[in-house]
Symmetry: C3
Subunit: 304 residues, 3 copies
């Protein structure tokens, strides 16, 4: 299983070792949105496994000359690039590329849609915290559910493994019909967190204020922020998560970020391990299969 | 010969293998203009051969502090960088650096002047298409001849190997005296392509419209674009080329790009192979010769 | 000693060899200010030693989303990055990170404060020029002392090894109380350079003119510039240094840069070697010690 393989790689990374598993495999890291943790962890993973990384940004590329995303990446793949890791603001970008490129495509975040490797690292972090059992466990996800690809990917994985999910957030940031994802909606952060086994605070983007979706960061922190008092409402062994980058003292207080319940840095560490496992899995797929037999990509397609 | 060596490397690249041929050789990729295919193929080539790549852009470098191009690269070369791959908007930039740097200098495009590795990949693509014989073959090169370093480098190589070249394009984009390059000028794209063994469509840059050199992209496509009907005027085994990035349905129609005559993606694949061969050749030169015996650089000097 | 180790690496670099000394060690190059020589020499050093480099710039990272410097780097370090090389406009940035990160932190320039690896390469260059003895030797440092982290780091090292330092520059660019650093202040560049064993010209930044700290580049060159005539005032075997990037014919004339006394390119070459030695030393520290026993970082703390 992918998470077990990630645990294997976590040990390798912790020991500062490298492998030759992906020797000769070229990996294009196509990041058309800002990113630190996802980009850096994929770059490190590729190099630790002996692959050949090549960076692609919108700026400085032919896309600034009007070339389409698909033609730019078709060009890169024609140079015998085996794997494409793509982050793009358009929902469905990775799935679209996966249908048209003769390469393994890994979704590193597509708009507000999905962020599957983030979902996997969240699952790995919770599997550790929950001693391997998801059944009977409940997580509260708090904040800007409407714009969070992180929340979507986590909910999808958690529901599949048997955990239940409660969401809470300002009405302006809760998508209509979110219950269809199999989660409960709580009217307040307190009710969402009470008795939970974990809480995931979501990042609030400053532009949401300009769009009048939230009143002010101070107001947001007071009503929806994850703070020490609210953490006490959870089970005694419950953990605090955040996908990062976080706004200290807005959606989560600084003392909680750095406190004993926080597994935020473990999420980052698991991210490095998960990306090793995902690159390996996709490279194996490329080697074993012809393009016609290529299995479902990691990315999930957008319903038309 | 360089093209044979490129064929050797094409097989290596296709097999996803790497070599240690350039182990310990540091290669500076100095790209002062936007580029995807040239930059990425050189980065991949350097890494596949075991070299040490280091990127240099105008932004983020000391050139933003007013340092000259030559001083910046002299600095890099003083750190024992053996090869400098340079793209620069000034015609003659690579030749100038080659005269003053104690390093192998590879021209990756200098203004509207030359793009020698593109020329080599075009030759390799045509050698395959034409089963190794250039004599008696004819290529039509269509479009913005005035600003195309790609066309110049291709014409130079094709004439040397014995093929003939017919050019066609708007009068505003045909340099006066282009016949001196040993090509014929046709009054229309149809007359250029009729009976040809290949056509190379050149990229139209949007800024040419602002300069009133072409009326509109629609008009351009109608009068000078390479489309399916015009492709039928060529010999039955003739191929369609474009250096990329292309404007679909402007200088070339989308169905032709993706059609059976198109060798556009093979050009890209050959580019990756040619750059391996060029890096190897230049590194061998560095190792075998002292600076004084250094042979003519790949780049061609601009007549003063 | 670190300089002896740099000499060892200089031979390795000159021979175009690589090593596996830092195999598996990940190095984050966090450059938040423009840089060519420091950035490129660290990137080359990391790769020559077999380490895994990963670049981090302000642009394109999570810092553009409002994340703090410390949280961004804590994130990177959580992915098992062992060494962080940081350049930042804030004096004390490296020391601050060194106190809070579980990683080796190398100061690659912090504001107007320190630039320790530049100081080391200057010492190595002078040790060669002075045949290994600093006692009884004197260097003139000329120009913008107030904003020069290079001068600070050089002065600190030179005083420690027994050389004496004379400074000279416009009154607006001499910090009050500079004598406390153990140097003498000369009223003119001629008096500073007369009988000296070396001169270090400092870069003049164009913005100093806008701030009215210097009148014009022409005027500056005439009064404070290092030129051939002034070089003749020094001892016959004295050398000319400049940290680069230099403004030809402003703080130093072009003929002096390219003349026989100039060791400017040797400074660059030594920089590449020093950075190998520093990376190796810091990586050894990481491997041998627990975080609690971690020794003093290379960076020097700012007095509060």
């Amino acid at each position: 299983m992918l998470l077990d393989r990630a645990v294997h790689y976590r040990a390798m990374v912790r020991a500062g070792r490298v492998s030759e598993a992906l020797r000769g495999v070229a990996v294009c890291l196509a990041f058309f949105e800002d990113s630190t943790r996802t980009r850096v962890s994929f770059v490190l993973a590729a190099q630790r496994l002996g692959a050949i990384p090549v960076m692609l940004f919108a700026q400085g590329s032919s896309m600034s000359k009007g070339e389409t995303l698909l033609d730019t990446l078709r060009t890169v793949v024609s140079m015998k690039v085996d794997l494409v890791v793509v982050r793009h603001r358009a929902a469905g970008a990775a799935a679209y590329l996966a249908r048209h490129l003769d390469a393994g495509v890994i979704n590193a975040g597509d708009g507000t849609h999905e962020h599957p490797t983030q979902g996997l690292l969240d699952l790995l972090t919770l599997r550790d915290a929950w001693h391997g059992r998801f059944e009977g466990r409940r997580i509260a996800i708090v904040g800007d559910l409407a714009h969070s690809r992180v929340a979507r990917s986590a909910m999808f994985g958690l529901r599949t493994l048997g955990a239940s999910v409660t969401v809470a957030g300002p009405a302006t940031l809760l998508p209509a019909g979110i219950e269809a994802f199999g989660c409960e909606v709580a009217p307040s952060v307190e009710q969402a967190m009470r008795g939970a086994d974990a809480v995931m605070a979501l990042r609030i983007q400053r532009e949401r204020m300009e769009q009048s979706l939230i009143p002010s960061t101070h107001e947001y922190a007071r009503v929806w922020g994850v703070n020490a008092e609210r953490v006490e409402l959870m089970k005694p062994d419950a953990v605090v998560m955040h996908p990062g980058p976080f706004n200290r003292d807005v959606e989560i207080t600084s003392d909680v970020v750095d406190g004993p319940r926080s597994v935020i840095w473990r999420q980052v560490e698991n991210g490095a391990a998960v990306r090793c496992a995902v690159l390996e899995r996709c490279a194996q797929g490329r080697r074993a299969l012809t393009a016609a037999e290529w299995p479902e990509p990691l990315s999930v397609e957008v319903p038309e």
